[in-house]
């Protein structure tokens, strides 16, 4: 008997007892759905927690500050900055060359004068909505082409395009300046902000004057960002243009003007670096090396390690619950198959009478069990995913009401494999005894009993 023949016989067996097959598949599907939805929920929750801890950046990221390290820095996730110490390209190259470092993303910042537009609700309301007060703020520039390597979480909107001069992201600090809550993020998206970079002009003995170079940008997103207390995040090009304007100041006219310029753009070529390491285990050693080079750093390594431990325990417990359900479903398959063997003794006898060997009969029943398990697993995995999406919608609605980013419900290939192939494998195991019993049934006895 070929595999194709065995398949035909197995499918006919299922068709003949269709109702029972449907019930068996339903039992497997429910168990697989439970397992799948639990695994998806655990994965989504773990990712959300890690994302919150790392502010959306890689878990293996380290923030380097333009300061000397303080004693005891490595005992803490937080930076303990001492006196200022400039970060330039040579420092960046040294850190890039450390063992375990995969990338180094520079951060630039500068002081700007900010003229915000009224948020959208104010515009939509009374026509005479008062414009928000201008304020002195900080503009941070990052390489937005490598945004996935940065500790930046988009709360609303999309990140500015890399290199864009007319798009900007704002942080929660900007919302607070406008008297808005984080739940009102969408009201600033699409509004315009004017940024004035200061420059000192001096003419001989006359008084110095500070002139702003004003530029406009549209707010395209609200983000949460680690490593910057500023209100605005833009492309490196925006910040470089603003810093270049300020750096061209004439500081020869009056004492104190150079101090003003230093306060605006700082002494350091870069206002910080974000270092991504090859793995979580490398974070500690890379931080040690950065400390030896002479810079303060921070990384949520202890916090992430704790979260990982707890999430692994939760994952094991919930997987065990899902597997128990799947085992119960497998027992259901075994029961159904045993009943099928008992009811199909005559068919088994006929098969053997026309030349089928024991292994052919075993193959038919194993195929039948595997088919029930695989179909049940596939239906259950899809059902579990749909269930997780539904729960995710409710959870995300709540999180968005709280002004937080939602959870991303994905279906990793690992869960699909466990859901479908795991169900099929368990069904195969469950079908082994019935298949063996059917295979060992003597033809004469099978025919005689029928």
């Amino acid at each position: 008997m070929t595999w194709a023949d065995a398949w035909v016989v197995a499918v006919r067996g299922i068709r003949r007892r269709f109702s029972r097959a449907v019930l068996t598949v339903a039992a497997v599907a429910l168990a697989a759905a439970l397992l799948t939805s639990l695994l998806i929920a655990v994965g989504a929750a773990r990712n959300r927690v890690f994302s919150a801890v790392s502010k959306g950046g890689p878990l293996t990221g380290i923030q380097v500050l333009p300061n000397a390290p303080d004693f005891g820095q490595l005992d803490s996730d937080s930076a303990k900055p001492a006196e200022p110490r400039p970060i330039d390209d040579s420092v960046r190259r040294r850190i890039q060359g450390l063992r375990g470092v995969t990338s180094v993303v520079p951060l630039l910042s500068t002081g700007v004068f900010v003229v915000p537009s009224p948020p959208k609700q104010a515009k939509a309301g009374s026509g005479a909505a008062r414009a928000p007060d201008p304020f002195r703020g900080t503009l941070t520039g990052v390489d937005l082409g490598r945004a996935e390597q940065l500790p930046v979480t988009v709360l609303a909107g999309v990140l500015p395009a890399p290199g864009a001069l007319d798009e900007i992201a704002v942080t929660d600090a900007y919302l607070r300046k406008l008297g808005l809550r984080s739940t009102q993020s969408s009201s600033v998206i699409g509004t315009q902000v004017e940024l004035g970079a200061p420059r000192v002009f001096s003419d001989g003995n006359r008084d110095v004057t500070v002139r702003g170079q004003w530029s406009k940008a549209t707010i395209v997103s609200v983000v949460a960002a680690q490593g910057t207390s500023g209100q605005l995040i833009g492309s490196l090009a925006v910040v470089r243009a603003a810093r270049a304007w300020t750096a061209a100041s004439d500081t020869t006219g009056r004492s104190g003007t150079d101090q003003f310029v230093r306060e605006v753009i700082g002494d350091s070529q870069y206002s910080g670096l974000f270092v991504v390491t090859a793995g979580f285990d490398s974070v500690g050693t890379v931080r040690e090396s950065i400390t030896r080079i002479g810079f303060s750093s921070s990384a949520p390594e202890s916090l992430i390690a704790s979260v990982r431990r707890y999430s692994t325990v939760v994952e094991i417990v919930l997987t065990a619950i899902g597997l128990i359900a799947l085992t119960i479903a497998a027992l259901g398959i075994a029961n159904a198959m045993l009943a099928a063997v008992r009811e199909r003794r005559r068919e088994i006898g006929v098969l053997k009478a026309i030349g089928a060997r024991d292994r052919d009969v075993r193959r038919v029943f194993l195929l039948e069990a595997a088919l029930l398990g695989l179909v049940g697993g596939a239906v259950g995995t899809a059902l579990g995913y749909a269930l997780a999406r539904l729960v995710g919608l409710a959870v995300n609605r709540y999180l968005h009401q709280q002004g937080l980013t939602g959870v991303a419900i994905g279906l990793p290939i690992g869960i699909i494999t466990v859901g479908i192939l795991g169900s099929g494998a368990l069904a195969l195991v469950a079908g082994t005894i019935p298949a063996q019993r059917a295979a060992q049934l003597p033809a004469r006895r099978a025919m005689g009993d029928a």
């Binding site: 194709a4 398949w7 201008p134 007319d166 004017e194 002139r211 088919l371 596939a378 994905g410």
Partner: protein, 206 residues
């Protein structure tokens, strides 16, 4: 037993259902950000003048060059306001024009309100304004927009602060200079938002 040729149709159907389930469960990732065009070369705008351009009692956000920049210039424009209080033609020529030339502007606006307030002789104003324009013209591709009257003369009360003959003479001079130099001019005898709009219309007419 009859040998089946190839795999039966039911096997293909089941395999297809399983494959579809796997593919269908793949779940879409977050939608990518829409591609946005990065704007080209910025338009650099420099404002020259005295009290009205500087802002005076007005805040930065309501001075008319800021309104012009905010409402009538493209999103990739930049503004540098070089105006200072009590600067007339002579001071603008001495302090603001050299800096303006160094900034290589694409658009320059000039208003001479302080000369009106000080009742500077029209001939002097004409000479200084002509020199300002000719010096600014050394910048490649620069567009010069001229206005002469103060922003708050839109009301009868404000207008009464000035000798009407002086205002009329200044306007006549402005027109003459515009004719001679080929620069664009606006009737700046308006409020701040109207001045911004008037200049904005001229920028848009290019």
């Amino acid at each position: 037993m009859r040998r089946a040729r190839g795999f039966p149709r039911s096997a293909v159907v089941v395999a297809s259902v399983l494959a579809l389930a796997v593919v269908g469960c793949g779940g879409g990732g977050p939608a990518g950000a829409p591609a946005r065009a990065v704007v080209g070369k910025p338009v650099h705008y420099v404002a020259l003048g005295g009290d009205d351009v500087y802002g005076g009692r007005r805040s930065l956000t309501t001075a008319w060059p800021q309104l012009l920049f905010r409402k009538h210039l493209p999103v990739n424009a930049t503004l540098v306001n070089l105006a200072s209080p009590r600067h007339g033609g002579a001071e603008i020529l001495r302090d603001q024009v050299p800096t303006a030339i160094r900034l290589h502007p694409d658009i320059v606006t000039i208003t001479l309100i302080d000369d009106l307030e000080r009742a500077t002789p029209p001939q002097t104003v004409q000479r200084e304004l002509s020199t300002i324009i000719s010096e600014l013209r050394t910048v490649d591709g620069v567009r010069i927009l001229v206005g002469t009257a103060p922003p708050d003369t839109g009301t009868a009360e404000a207008r009464s602060q000035f000798d009407s003959a002086v205002v009329a003479a200044a306007h006549a001079l402005r027109d003459k200079i515009v004719d001679l130099s080929g620069v664009s001019a606006t009737d700046a005898d308006l409020r701040a938002d109207q001045i911004a709009e008037a200049f904005g219309r001229q920028v848009a007419t290019r």
